[in-house]
Symmetry: C2
């Protein structure tokens, strides 16, 4: 397998982007990544795009050739593929771009992710998102994603004594980080009291424990390290890219205090990289809800099971802590256009490893990780990236 580098990154602002359509967002992110890489359209050998439900949100499937067309790449007739794994669609796209380059099948591959979620009403968005759960046995009975993660939060609180304040501390930290990210949906700093005073969505999750509905797109350009050297001095390479699956339903899951899918994807990534959690300088985890970040930092091996809430409350995962988590603001503050999220995570780590993260730059960042989850834990992708 060849070593694979990220040679270009680009993303739209995340938020309620009323003046741009799905195709506008895709084109903007793609063009920014291509310009950042310094390549031309004819250099691209393949394209992957992650999207959860462009069908549900904008009545458009078959978005890979749509992306090809808006980018003006049709004359090259390159393989262009949409992958879908709910909120992990972007991560899956990254992994497949990585596989295409690592295997030698393609040289320069562009990987995008996009979702335009605010063209439908909020209730309909909730319904579309529920298609990431088991429709027949969960969603049809009224279960929504805040409900699924609330069940996990309650169990975690019951088993380990995790508190509402600890959950809130995740949101407080991520809003603080996001306040320094020009592309973030929310730049307002909040307090634990703000979170606890916000409306209850699904007990114990308040509104400010939940990531928002977001429009946005993100793209990266991948190349073999040998070729990457022709384009950039700041090479960020993959040390690992791993994907795992589990039941789509929560009720059939083997345990409820963790996401087994994260544990497996994480273990595979560390094994592939020959690294341990201690080697990771910063990580972007899938904080669709505050409890999700707490479980993620435990399941990835950074903290003992049950101690993620305490670690967050104590500031260990803050920007100046021992393991900065979600320096971008995470899904919570940066926003969560589901198909774009896994790609945007790689962008944040790449910017950090290049030393281009501005106010939120982590000092001496050399190895970073991304962690992207689909649904209530049916899919996960974990990447490890390194500056060389």
């Amino acid at each position: 397998m060849r070593e694979v580098a990220v040679i270009g990154v680009g993303m739209t602002k995340f938020g309620e982007i009323w003046d741009k359509s799905f195709r506008d967002l895709v084109a903007e992110a793609g063009m920014k990544a291509i310009m950042d890489a310094g390549i031309e359209g004819k250099d691209i050998d393949a394209m992957y795009i992650g999207g959860m439900s462009s069908g549900g949100f904008v009545e458009q499937e078959h978005v890979a050739p749509l992306a090809i067309e808006v980018a003006g790449l049709e004359e090259f007739h390159i393989p262009a593929t949409r992958v879908e794994g709910a909120c992990a669609s972007g991560g899956i796209a990254v992994r497949h771009g990585y596989m295409a380059v690592a295997s030698g099948m393609h040289d320069i591959v562009i990987v995008g992710g996009a979702e335009k979620m605010t063209d439908v009403a909020g209730t309909e968005a909730t319904n579309v998102l529920a298609s990431a759960a088991d429709r027949e046995w969960e969603a049809f009975f009224g279960m929504t994603f805040p409900g699924l993660y609330a069940l996990m939060a309650r169990y975690h609180m019951h088993k380990y004594g995790t508190t509402p304040e600890q959950l809130a501390s995740v949101a407080v930290k991520n809003h603080y980080n996001g306040s320094m990210n020009p592309n973030a949906q929310y730049k307002r700093r909040i307090t634990v009291d703000d979170v606890l005073a916000s409306p209850m969505v699904a007990d114990p999750l308040h509104l400010l424990d939940c990531s928002p509905i977001t429009d946005g797109a993100a793209a990266i350009v991948l190349a073999p390290v040998d070729i990457a050297k022709e384009y950039t001095d700041k090479i960020v390479r993959f040390r690992a890219s791993a994907q795992a699956s589990d039941t789509i339903s929560l009720f059939n899951r083997s345990r409820f205090d963790a996401l087994p899918v994260t544990i497996h994807a994480g273990e595979r990534a560390f094994k592939q990289a020959g690294l341990t959690p201690k080697d990771i300088d910063l990580v972007e985890v899938h904080d669709c809800f505050t409890i999700a970040e707490i479980m993620a930092i435990e399941d990835l091996g950074f903290f003992k099971k049950g101690e993620g809430g305490k670690a967050t409350e104590e500031g260990l995962t803050a920007l100046d802590g021992e393991l900065p988590v979600n320096t971008s603001g995470g899904l919570k503050s940066k926003g969560h256009p589901v198909g774009a999220t896994g790609v945007a995570q790689v962008i944040e780590i790449t910017l950090q490893l290049r030393g281009e993260a501005g106010e939120r730059q982590v000092k001496d960042a050399r190895i970073g990780m991304t962690h992207n989850v689909g649904g209530s834990g049916g899919t996960a992708v974990v990447n490890i990236l390194e500056a060389i």
Copy 2:
């Protein structure tokens, strides 16, 4: 790259399957393929599933972990990925299973495709299918898929003198072939007069020029040829697997008398295999409409541009012709559960190359091809398979 073999195949009956749900179809096809291969669940290293719009048809995205769960494979936490490229979703799944094995990333990979299209009304099915076209610039203005292919048919007739009778002869041949396929949706043999007397859907395409709305699932098991030998004596290996893209929209297409995406995917496949059209013993092409088969057999190089209709009318593509086309009955007669189609095409070629195609067996079939198209030609996948 390693050589890749098909070691197991399985499919449901195609048709209006009222007594089975999406998950039932997925489970049935997967189990049949696993049993045909003689493997166990623990042997599987990765899974791909092609589906165009389970979101639109059954309100279910994230179908890869759903498939993992219904198959009881969750304990292995294998990478499980849905790919989507409209009606080429199954072909894309096959190609990604092929890539995963060929590259050495995974050994045994199961590839599925499924669509449950009859749980919505026919008008809504037409609307969901229109999401494979450019929603903003085609479908919102009333364009449907029969309309898009009717435009191409009219142009082909104008430019090359292709006749309604030649179009009809595609349907007649495919219904004849399908009458010998136990899994086909329609087993009724029809005549040219039947086609011309059937209601006009989009001039010049009559009802019997159109493939139907279908429920169904199909699955295959892939393995490196070295490992395949442990499971079967009848080895069918890939000589090529190629994918191409073009504009999603028809109006931006560089030509209208052909699908450039087919030409490019076909040329790449022949180049990869080191073969020419003369080497192919039989081919399954994407006959979503009769004109589509005529263009496909021209675009793949089997007949000169403009002569596909005449060739069909003269019987050159019949079961006993010089190049049997769509021995399975094709999308027209076997049915077209869009996400399953590309996988089912590989099943037909595999059965033919194994000599297990029953009444519709092509004598001395050694090398076969599949051709799967998404939308009006935004995506195409071409595979070449060989019995060894």
